[in-house]
Subunit: 190 residues, 2 copies
C-alpha cells in the first residue's frame, strides 16, 4: 500500500489539525454534563473525533483514592489535563465536564494545552439549592457531604472565561450555539 | 467546507482503523524503553499516530501518590489501560513500557482493549544483575529499594505472550522486526 493511502486510512495527515479542549467548569447542577453531551453530539455529527471526560467517570478511572482536598482536586485536574494533551496532539477533541473549582489548576491546564476553551457554567447558588435535581445540596447543607463545592468548599469562578453560559436562563441548545460560535471565531471548527 | 473535506482535514474517516496497543512487560533493565522508542520511530515513519506511555512518566502524570504495593501497581496498570482505550478508539497506537509484573492486571487490560499485543522482554535475572546499567539491582539487593520487582517483589511472566524477545541475545532492531512481523500477521500494520 502506498504511504499516502495508509496515512489516509489511519487518519494521519500532515495537514491535520491539533485537537482542542473545551473545559466546562461550574458548580454541581449547572449543566456541565448535559451541555458537554450536546456539544459532543454536534461535533460527532460534523465528523470530529471527540472524547468526553466526565468528572464522575474520571474519578473512577484515573483518580480512584484521591480525596476532595484542594491538593487532590488539583491533582485530579492535572491528570485530566494530561489526557487532553495526549488526545489533542492526536487530533481528538476533548470535552471535560468537571467542577474544577480552583482557578490556578485550570490555568495550569490552559498552559499545557495548545487550544483550551474555558466554558463557565454560571448559576446562582440559591437557584441550584432550590432546584437541587440530585438532592445533593440538601444533603450537603445538612452536613452529610463534606467538601461540597459551593457549600463547604470554595469555588473560584473564572475571571475571563472564553464562554459564559447562564444556565438558569439559557437553554442547553442556546449554550452550545454560543460555544460553537466561539469555536468558529477561534477557527477550531468551521 | 464540505463535510467530506472536513473529515479529511481532521483525520476522521468512517473507514479508519481502530488503534492498537503494544504492551512491553518485563523486569527492569530488559530494554522495554529502548524497544518501545525504536518501535515508535518505525510506526511514525510509516505514518501512524503513536503515543508512548513510559512507566516512569506515567507514574508522574497519572499515578502520583501510588505505592508499589500489588494493589497500587494494579491500579497504575488499569489507568494506563484506560488511556490506551481512549487513544485506541481514536485511531492512535499506544506503546506501553511498564514492568507490569502481575499477570491478572495485564489480562484485565487485554480484555478492555480491542487490539492488545503483549511483548515479553525476557532476560535472566543473573544477567540483569551483572549488567545493572542503572545500578538499581545493586541497590535493591542491598535492601535500599523496597518492593523491587525480581528481587523483593514478584514478577509473573506471561504464559503465552504475543511476542517474546530475549533481550540478552536479540538486538533491539531484531526485536522490533519480530514485533513488526507479528503486527503484520495480525493485520494491524501493512
Amino acid at each position: 500500500m502506498l504511504r499516502a493511502e495508509k496515512q489516509d486510512e489511519m487518519g494521519k495527515h500532515k495537514g491535520s489539525r491539533a485537537g482542542f479542549t473545551v473545559w466546562f467548569t461550574g458548580l454541581s447542577g449547572t449543566g456541565k454534563t448535559t451541555s458537554s453531551r450536546l456539544l459532543k453530539e454536534r461535533l460527532l455529527a460534523y465528523g470530529y473525533r471527540v472524547e468526553l471526560l466526565d468528572g464522575d467517570i474520571v474519578r473512577q478511572r484515573l483518580s480512584r483514592g484521591l480525596t476532595f482536598s484542594k491538593e487532590d482536586r488539583d491533582e485530579n485536574i492535572r491528570r485530566i489535563g494530561y489526557v487532553c494533551e495526549l488526545l489533542g496532539r492526536n487530533g481528538v477533541v476533548s470535552l471535560v465536564a468537571a467542577i474544577s473549582p480552583y482557578r490556578a489548576a485550570r490555568e495550569w491546564v490552559r498552559m499545557q494545552i495548545p487550544h483550551f476553551v474555558e466554558v463557565y457554567m454560571e448559576c446562582p447558588l440559591t437557584v441550584l439549592i432550590e432546584k437541587d435535581v440530585r438532592g445533593l445540596y440538601r444533603r450537603a447543607l445538612a452536613g452529610k457531604i463534606p467538601n461540597f463545592t459551593g457549600i463547604s468548599d470554595p469555588y473560584e469562578p473564572p475571571l475571563d472565561p472564553d464562554v459564559r453560559i447562564r444556565s438558569y436562563q439559557d437553554t442547553p441548545t442556546d449554550g452550545v450555539d454560543r460555544i460553537w460560535e466561539k469555536l468558529e471565531k477561534l477557527r477550531l471548527v468551521d
